[in-house]
Amino acid sequence: MDPKLNERLRALLAEVLEVTLAPGEVTRASLAQWDSLNHLRVVVAVEEEFSLRLEVDEVTSIASLADLETVVAGKLAAAA
């Protein structure tokens, strides 16, 4: 994985959720602000940032920053 992608997604997540993220893995279960309401906000922000579109199953599969990174990396690779 591109370490810069992780950094960009981490920064975006922190910006949308208005939180300071501790180093390491971030999961929806461990972060109260990443609730179902804000999940769509995160998805929309990611879509705008990377000019891509996530489908329903992709959105619902994301339970952590790592998942998000996997989905976005896959989309970017497919588009390349």
Binding site: L37, H39, L40, R41, V44, A45, E49, E55, V56, V59
Partner: protein, 568 residues
């Protein structure tokens, strides 16, 4: 990004760049990503309460960048998700209440007529919970013509209720407002751009007029604003009316039809301007569409003051549009609160920005709209008559051949009473600023409402004033004395109060108390009452009537009609 105040540390060039950005922001629907990055702090707080069966949060997240254009931001309290909207009965001190409904949940079970009838009960409950002061907004639904038609009727028949035009917003976007992915993920059926467009509709169209931010007059420069080119150099034949200018002029014409006054403030030769309007058939406006025309070599900041006096409004109720940033800066420095818009010399962006300029959206039909421009133009003739009469006020009043129509308890005047309460500043004694619901309630059995219409030899001014009192036993508390500034100087308000005393006497009232509030601009009303009752704000009806005896000699022809129970 504030249209009326604030200054940039970087000087006029930075200010101009900021005004260009603001114009573009108003003229085009911003991207969600751009709004997300905006951080808004400070400003007047609008308190909202949202009862919903849809997640309004996606819309609310985009409100503040739009609100910031008129110096506001929002705080919001939410109900739980409840298709039945039982939470609307919760008392709230919110400034505005929003009912945000997923109409798909209802239309499967109810006909559009029944759904709208149910909406009426929820609106009425929300209005009661807001004690009639907080307007209640309810959304319609894109591409649901039958429901939307029914909802419009319900809202029109419910004072204090307003429609959030989701259908109109979707039509203006021109793209599909729905997003099945968002719906599946979060039960939010709209696209991100539709969420932005709804936020813009709320924050720029609906909220400003509901919270006192109203623009009464649009003042325009001419060269490179209303047309392309410089009249003094290019001549009437040389100036160009581009498609953008045609759209702008059409938009201005529609604003005028809705009651917004138009004025011209231009550094030009007056004869050149008259010739240009006469010669150019492609101009969508005639010179007499403008209630005030100030053309000449007077500095514009000074001319704007003259226009404010012509129109008898405060400069803070005016929007000044000019292509010259330095002129805008000087105008704003001279007139606190003046709204400004940097004109696009091609016209197109100016026209588009006016479409969502805060304070210009018509939230309610303007009852007096058709009469206003002609009445203000007639005021110039009145000034000439006044000058001719010299110190003889009676001769001036007689020369006007005034006809005053007084109506007592006419319920159909409630919308105009609301307008007068909200819009008048100089002659507004109590500054009660009543809501539409309160205006309707004022016609109840424990109140006395008198409305006053005026015509004279020069124009029909329409319904120009009202007096409202709560009557309890032998005591009347006068809560509203409101008169349009267009009719001041003709002693109509004194005449009306004298007649009002007659009605109070018929109700057995012995004592009259006036609710008086001190506002920044209502000194004329307070001084008027102080001249009648120098000893205070309450008096016996007998004393008050005696002080008003002089009104008997007023030369106006008066008709008085009593409606409803008062007539019996």
């Amino acid at each position: 990004m504030n249209l009326s105040s604030g200054s940039m540390a970087g000087g006029v060039e930075d200010e101009i760049a900021s005004w260009q950005a603001t114009r573009r922001f108003l003229a085009t629907l911003p991207r969600a990503a751009d709004l997300r990055k905006a951080r808004i702090r400070g400003g007047r707080v609008l308190r909202l309460r949202c009862d919903r069966s849809l997640p309004f949060e996606y819309v609310a997240g985009f409100l503040d960048p739009f609100l910031a254009t008129w110096g506001a931001r929002h705080e919001i309290e939410y109900s739980g998700y409840d298709p039945g909207l039982t939470g609307v009965e919760t008392r709230s001190t919110a400034d505005l209440r929003i009912l945000f409904l997923d109409w798909r949940l209802h239309l499967g079970q109810l006909s559009p007529e029944d759904a709208a009838r149910w909406a009426r009960t929820r609106l009425q409950a929300a209005l009661r919970a807001g004690e009639g002061r907080a307007p209640v907004l309810i959304n319609d639904w894109p591409d649901c013509d039958a429901l939307n038609r029914e909802l419009r009727q319900v809202v029109q028949a419910t004072p204090g209720a307003l429609l959030i035009g989701a259908h109109a917003v979707a039509q203006e976007m021109g793209t599909d407002p729905f997003d099945a992915r968002n719906d599946a993920v979060s039960r939010f059926p709209f696209s991100n751009q539709a969420a932005v467009a709804l936020a813009r509709h709320l924050a720029l169209d609906l909220f400003p007029p509901l919270t006192g931010e109203r623009i009464k007059a649009v003042v325009l420069d001419l060269d490179d604003t209303l047309w392309k080119g410089v009249l003094g150099e290019d001549g009437a034949a040389g100036i160009r009316v581009l498609p953008g200018h045609q759209r702008l002029q059409e938009k201005l014409r529609r604003l005028k039809e809705r009651g917004v006054l138009l004025a011209v403030c231009s550094r030009n030769d007056p004869t050149d301007v008259e010739r240009a309007f006469a010669a150019r058939s492609d101009l969508g406006l005639a010179l007499n569409d403008f209630a005030s025309v100030r053309v000449g070599w007077t500095p514009k900041a000074q001319a704007l003051g003259d226009i404010a006096r012509d129109l008898n409004i405060h400069p803070s109720a005016m929007l000044f549009i000019d292509d010259n940033g330095a002129e805008l800066a000087r105008a704003r420095a001279a007139h606190g609160g003046l709204r400004i818009l940097l004109a696009d010399p091609e016209g197109a962006e100016t026209a588009a920005a006016l479409g969502h300029f805060p304070g210009l959206f018509p939230v309610a039909a303007d009852v007096a709209a058709a009469l206003r421009t002609a009445d203000i133009q007639a005021n110039r003739e009145r000034e000439k008559l006044r000058g001719t009469a010299g110190a003889n006020l009676a001769a001036y009043l007689a020369a006007l051949k005034m006809q005053v129509e007084i109506n007592v308890g006419r319920r159909s005047d409630a919308p105009r009473l609301y307008e007068l309460s909200q819009k008048t500043n100089q002659f507004n004694l109590g500054l009660a600023r009543i809501s539409p619901a309160q205006a309707a309630e004022a016609f109840g059995a424990k109140s006395l409402v008198m409305t006053v219409s005026l015509k004279d030899a020069l124009s029909d001014s329409g319904l120009v004033g009202a007096i409202v009192a709560a009557v309890e036993g032998k005591v009347a508390t006068v809560r509203e004395v409101v008169f349009s500034c267009r009719v001041l100087g003709r002693d109509i308000e004194t005449l009306a109060l004298w007649r009002f005393c007659g009605r109070l006497a018929a109700r057995g009232v012995a004592e009259v108390r006036f609710a008086v509030a001190e506002g920044p601009r209502n000194k004329p009303a307070r001084d008027w009452l102080a001249r009648i009752l120098p000893e205070g704000t309450q008096a016996s009806l007998a004393l008050l009537t005696a002080r008003l005896q002089g009104a008997q000699g007023h030369p106006a022809a008066i008709t008085e009609v009593v409606h409803g129970p008062e007539a019996e």
